[in-house]
């Protein structure tokens, strides 16, 4: 992709002049383009000779220009054996053709720039009659340009198109897709000088439909009313390559007799199939025949024969690449917006999911447990669970799903389902690896989770697996330590992630504090973070309190720290204190 700065300076004046080529009617008539920067662009056929140009039609002018800089009797174009001749009739400041002053008269050539008076803006362009040309072989796969100047113009337009590409990539969320496509087509028409342009997109079944249609000078056309040459399109899509069909009337019979070609007097068409950019290798532009999914087709046609004869392969390839990128981006944007809308509508699902978090469980034989789950409105996706396995050990799970809304809520529900498989004896590490692959293979889910899963046996053996989750804190005889300091891969972020299981021994009265980063990343009004150090400090100071008291102290410390700043993430804390499986003697007596 070009950098933003590289393509900013397109001379305004030149851009105005490049576009027009018209000979709709007969294909032979000469015409004048009015290219005043401040006026709507007009294309006026030279319908009568001599042809008078000046201010006001009351002076017998064929082309009346309502502009005070133009004299009433300005110029005249007349027919001479060599062609069309222009002469000054009294334009104030004189007449200039291609910047040369014209005094006695001058023969006009196609593309000549006619300036009236001293003002650079009073500009007309002469277009010579378009001669019909016969082609020996009308199906021409593309040939190189013989008009260097037009190639230059086309490259300027390509620059503008790449600017447009940059613009679409900037997430203009207000810009409707149709506007982006329309602008893309306008550029394509300007580059190729076609009469009209269309963007066709495949439906679910692969049939191509006209999505946006544009005429010259940014004129919107009804997509439903369009009847592009399907025969030519099919050729391009089948061969997976851009084609120019230069004179449809001379083309092979299948094209020639195609209904659209006959009915609409189409003479030439350009079809550029657009393919999804391949992600197989970093090398750009590999073999197009091996390309990916068909995104759509840019179709351009003209009623003039050989309208596209000076387009070269490079221009078409570049045009195709840019258009494909725009389409790709636009689709991405559309999907993203759709996703956001769904999340808003369905955030209620998350509330249901939150109701699934266990409430007030305390009756595990060798454990004391206190838990708090304080969801932050609309944000987060914390989840914890406790359940007993058949062998008498207790599973402890805490998870934090990235993001918010339905996606996070759905994922926690999915995690719950997947992890319940652990009750039937699956190895935790295998379950983690399976979950990771499952999520990575489905990037559309767009979510990942950090998790800590522990199995605490009645004899105090704790076997745990972690996935990017902050280390639980171990409170043992008044001192607080972390179970681990190094990192681990979250679930569903990196395909190649692997997990390990770690074993440690809990002692009676050991306490584990499991938490999510909503605790340590709680912010005060200056956006300082609570940090794990403050958590350790609070825990140390209240090491010998009951679990409920410890929880209350931590919440109090959080509240004091944040000073009423908005809670920005879910807060989940789980305190687990290990007791020996048989109740202490004092209680049994």
């Amino acid at each position: 992709m070009r950098s933003l700065t590289a393509s900013t300076a397109i001379p305004k004046a030149t851009a105005v002049l490049q576009f027009c080529h018209t000979a709709y009617m007969s294909g032979v008539q000469a015409h004048i383009e009015v290219a005043f920067p401040q006026r709507p662009r007009q294309v006026i056929p030279i319908s009568e000779l001599p042809f008078f140009i000046g201010r006001g039609s009351e002076n017998g002018n064929h082309l009346a220009l309502d502009d005070l800089r133009v004299s009433r009797r300005s110029i005249v174009i007349s027919a001479v054996p060599e062609g069309f001749r222009i002469a000054d009739r009294g334009q104030a400041g004189g007449l200039f053709v291609n910047c040369d002053p014209v005094t006695t008269g001058r023969i006009l050539h196609d593309g000549d720039q006619i300036r009236l008076g001293g003002d650079d803006e009073c500009l007309l362009v002469f277009r010579a009659p378009v001669k019909s040309q016969q082609h020996e072989n009308s199906f021409i796969s593309l040939y190189s340009t013989n008009a260097a100047s037009q190639a230059g113009d086309s490259h300027r337009e390509l620059n503008r198109l790449s600017l447009l590409l940059e613009a679409t990539s900037l997430l203009h969320s207000q810009l409707p897709l149709e506007a982006i496509f329309a602008s893309m087509l306008d550029h394509a028409i300007a580059i190729t000088r076609a009469d009209r342009g269309m963007l066709l997109e495949p439906d679910a079944a692969g049939a191509l439909h006209v999505k946006v249609a544009r005429g010259r000078e940014s004129k919107p056309l009804q997509p439903e009313a369009m009847n592009p040459s399907r025969t030519v399109i099919r050729q391009a899509v089948e061969h997976r390559v851009a084609v120019i069909n230069e004179d449809l009337l001379q083309a092979d019979t299948s094209v020639q007799t195609a209904e659209s070609v006959v009915l609409q007097l189409l003479r030439s068409a350009v079809v550029i199939p657009l393919y999804h950019l391949q992600h197989g290798s970093a090398a750009a532009n590999t073999d197009p025949a091996a390309g990916g999914e068909l995104l759509g087709v840019v179709y351009l046609d003209s009623k003039r024969a050989s309208a596209f004869s000076s387009l070269d392969r490079q221009i078409l390839d570049a045009l195709g690449a840019q258009a494909a990128s725009i389409l790709d981006n636009a689709r991405l944007m559309q999907r993203e917006r759709e996703r956001q809308r769904l999340e808003q509508e369905l955030s209620i699902a998350r509330q249901i999911q939150q109701a699934m978090v266990p409430q007030g469980i305390t009756d595990f034989p060798h454990l004391d447990i206190t838990a708090i789950y304080r969801p932050c409105h609309e944000v987060g996706g914390d989840y914890f669970d406790l359940f007993q396995l058949p062998d008498g050990s207790t599973a402890i799970l805490i998870a934090d799903v990235a993001g918010k809304g339905l996606g996070a809520a759905l994922l926690t529900t999915m995690l719950r389902g997947a992890l319940s498989g652990l009750t039937s004896g699956s190895e935790p590490v295998k379950v983690f690896e399976h979950l990771n692959r499952f999520l990575c293979e489905r990037p559309v889910v767009g979510r990942y989770a950090t998790m800590f899963f522990g199995l605490l046996a009645p004899d105090g053996t704790l076997e745990y697996v972690r996935a990017g989750h902050p280390s639980p804190l171990l409170l043992r005889r008044g001192a607080v330590t972390e179970l681990y300091h190094d990192g681990s891969f979250p679930i569903g972020l990196v395909e190649e992630a692997s997990y390990t299981s770690t074993r440690m021994q809990m002692e009676p009265d050991d306490t584990l504090l499991l938490f999510t980063d909503g605790v340590t990343e709680a912010e005060d009004k200056k956006r300082n973070l609570f940090e794990v150090e403050r958590l350790i400090d609070t825990l140390t100071r209240h090491a010998y309190c009951s679990l409920n008291a410890i929880q209350a102290e931590v919440l109090g410390a959080l509240e004091q720290f944040t000073q009423g700043a908005n809670q920005s993430d879910d807060i989940t804390m789980l305190l687990v204190r290990y007791r020996t499986a048989s109740p202490p003697c004092s209680q049994s007596l």
Partner: protein, 111 residues
Amino acid sequence: MTISTESMDGEITRVFLDGRLDIDGAQAIDLRMNVLAGSAKFLLIDMRNVSFIGSMGLRSIVVPAQAVRRRGGRVALFGPVPMVEEVIKASNIDQVIPVFHELEPALAALQ
């Protein structure tokens, strides 16, 4: 959150991130990052001005970076502040995408 890019020698695209990569920040850069994921060959993600990174923010960096790597490109993270680096390391992301605090070695790693 703002994002801007600069083309450097050797087909390196340098992405400047500035602000908080929380949920909103992640949303603000996602589309641009996705475009880069599909186009950049060598990606230098300049994180010096990222003051905070949340879980969605991390995803906004990692997923496009992985996409570039899958296409055969390379990615380096440059200059994360301690808070950001901590999050990166807690998730083992530094084992997949190298983190640098000096520009020279970061650029060298991309070549």
